[in-house]
């Protein structure tokens, strides 16, 4: 009896070694065929993403005379304003992302709890500004926020303040304008993920004696994290490349990286000067995305796997 399984194992092993070669070749053929199916999209990615970025990187290595040099990167250290601009960019990105989370999370939560019809009507209000030109919305904010704008004239007329608040042409103007424009990018993925949360989980929690607050904290919130993470990443990355709103709302005092790129491209006669800024932004953004993935991603996937 005992020999029987051993014999079977033996035969199996023999079978395996007999067929192994053919099986492996077959597997290889199959994976190649699958790869061939991917080829068109791989080619697209290569042609429209990898090649231009590689070219950008290549350009950034040449100085005005067309010689290979690190001059474009040395500028970051020689001129204090580059570092300052870089810091401003990330500061604005963090503040705006934070503001979007504070405003967007409750909004998305409310939308997800509303009956279907009411939710779709409310969603229209989220999406409608999304379709309006960024330039128009930025100018509208300028009208509202400036020294003789709506908010200041109301507050003064009501006797709440005597001197107008500085809301435009500085950091607060930039943050308000950008938060408004980027809010839908957080709300939409967050809403989508909240809608997929199984209400049975919440009911089960309640059933087991958790109050509404505990249910939210221990069940709903962790389950909404993947959506929040994707919203945060989208908003943050969009912030880093923002141009129109800081240019108009910052009064020339909030210079972000994209504005610096525009200045640099027109100031120097070589494309490398601007390209170097692009390369630095890309590298730092990728590094930060990696960090996000590690921090939020791990936690989010942790929640998913524990389900």
């Amino acid at each position: 009896m005992r020999a029987q399984p051993a014999l079977m194992q033996e035969t199996a092993r023999a079978d395996q070694s007999l067929n192994a070669h053919a099986l492996r070749a077959d597997a290889r053929r199959e994976s190649l065929r699958l790869l061939a199916l991917l080829a068109p999209s791989l080619f697209l990615v290569f042609a429209i993403i990898i090649v231009p970025i590689g070219w950008l990187f290549w350009l950034s290595l040449f100085d005005e005379a067309g010689a290979l040099s690190a001059a474009n990167y040395a500028r970051f250290f020689e001129q204090a304003s580059y570092i300052k601009t870089f810091v401003t960019t990330f500061k604005v990105a963090f503040i705006v992302t934070g503001a979007c989370v504070l405003l967007g999370y409750p909004l998305a939560y409310m939308l997800s709890q509303l009956p279907r019809r009411a939710a779709s009507i409310c969603l229209i209000f989220v999406i409608l500004p999304f379709w309006t030109s960024v330039l128009v919305r930025t100018y509208a904010w300028l009208v509202i926020l400036q020294r003789k704008g709506l908010i200041n004239s109301w507050l003064i007329d009501l006797g709440i303040i005597s001197q107008p608040l500085s809301l435009a042409n500085n950091l607060s103007g930039v943050v308000i304008g950008m938060t408004h424009i980027l809010l839908p990018f957080l709300v939409l993925p967050l809403y989508a993920s909240m809608k997929t949360i199984d209400t049975d989980c919440l009911r089960a929690g309640m059933n087991l004696g958790a109050g509404p607050a505990a249910t939210f904290r221990q069940i709903f919130f962790p389950l909404s994290l993947p959506g929040l993470a994707s919203g945060v990443v989208i908003v943050f990355v969009l912030c880093l490349g923002f141009f129109v709103t800081p240019a108009l709302m910052g009064g020339g005092k909030v210079i972000m990286w994209a504005m610096r790129m525009e200045q640099t491209t027109s100031l120097y006669s070589n494309w490398g000067a601007g390209a170097a800024l692009g390369v630095v932004l890309l590298v730092v953004t990728l590094a930060l995305l990696g960090l996000f993935q590690w921090l939020l991603g791990a936690r989010a996937t942790g929640v998913w796997s524990s389900r």
Partner: protein, 346 residues
């Protein structure tokens, strides 16, 4: 008498023939300028009359400046036959070899300031940077000079200066230090930067476009500003409570070039000759506040007498202003702008 007459007839006929050579009838050239009301004025003043006179078609496009020309020329994809630029951009592009040589046998340069006549670029119009203030804040006792603008005790209020045009703001800063208008150039860049350093804490907005400067003043976001005269004129016409003058203005020229490798060089040269001719130059101030670059335009009788005093390049007004030196900025723009940006972006 008869003889001289016939000679002049022949001369005129010859001139006409040279301007309207039969080969070019039906040619199409593309001219790029800044767009907006300025280009609309150019269409009426320059492009249409030229197209009619030469029997060619002039297509229009808009430019963002030297970058566009550089991209087209270095990329071997020149789509413009003539393009407008700022004079300092022309000087820089010339150094980089981006333009075709101009033929001053065809283009008559008389009446144009020699500083704006070069092998491969020629002036086309003038803009002035002027000091504007709101009369609802200061009455008529507002800041009149750049020294006043810098004097924050005597003239308290919110201020805006150009943050994108370092050359203009540095010229203005030199004037604020009390340097007489004929001594501003060559600009002592470090001195001018020190001057900017004094005022930068009191600047509430550094504007980056003409529209922005206009909006800042119009909405009362600032009480005084540096601004282009065209924008200042528009504000006044719209009835905004503002005042400005050409005293201590900074006169900046725009220029036109034929990008290297332009497809229709011959026709472009003839069109450019028309654009800078006194007759067509005199049309420009009828439509826009940018002054003609050819001072002979003022002798054509086309410009009404009462309009002349409002034109920045009228001889009377030129005397009150500093002419931006394009060749100075060709050599110093990059370094000066770097330092300027470092200072105001601190």
């Amino acid at each position: 008498m008869n003889r001289t007459r016939s000679v002049s007839v022949v001369a005129i006929a010859g001139l006409m023939a040279s301007l309207a050579a039969p080969a070019m009838a039906g040619d199409t050239i593309t001219v790029a300028s800044w767009g907006g009301t300025y280009q609309e004025a150019q269409t009426k003043a320059f492009f249409k009359p030229t197209a009619d006179a030469l029997g060619i078609t002039i297509k229009e496009d808009t430019t963002n400046g030297l970058d566009d020309v550089r991209l087209q020329v270095t990329g071997n994809a020149v789509k413009w036959d003539i393009t407008e630029l700022g004079a300092d951009e022309c000087a820089r592009g010339s150094k980089e070899g981006l333009f075709e040589k101009l033929d001053y046998g065809i283009i008559d340069k008389s009446g144009i300031n020699p500083k704006l006549v070069h092998d491969d670029w020629v002036g086309i119009s003038y803009t002035s940077v002027v000091l504007i203030y709101r009369t609802d804040v200061f009455g008529d006792k507002g800041p009149k000079t750049w020294a006043d603008f810098w004097n924050v005790e005597k003239f308290p209020g919110r201020r805006a200066l150009s943050g994108s045009q370092a050359t203009e703001t540095l010229s203005v800063a030199a004037l604020a230090e009390g340097i007489p208008i004929d001594k501003v150039y060559p600009v002592d860049i470090d001195g001018a930067l020190k001057s900017v350093d004094k005022i930068r804490g009191h600047v509430d907005a550094w504007w980056t476009s003409g529209a922005q400067a206009m909006q800042l003043v119009k909405d009362g976001e600032v009480d005084m500003a540096s601004i282009w005269n065209g924008r200042a004129g528009t504000l006044k016409k719209e009835g905004a409570p503002v005042s400005f003058s050409f005293d201590q203005g900074v006169l900046t020229a725009d220029c036109m070039v034929i990008p290297k490798g332009a497809k229709n060089k011959e026709a472009a040269m003839k069109a450019l000759a028309m654009f800078v001719s006194p007759q067509l130059q005199a049309n420009l101030p009828l439509y826009v506040d940018n002054g003609p670059v050819n001072e002979k335009a003022f002798e054509t009788g086309k410009i009404p007498q009462d309009r002349i005093k409002d034109i920045n390049s009228a001889p009377e007004n030129v005397k009150k202003q500093v002419l931006q030196d394009a060749e100075f900025w060709r050599d110093n723009l990059v370094e000066a702008t770097e330092k300027f940006n470092n200072l105001i972006q601190q």
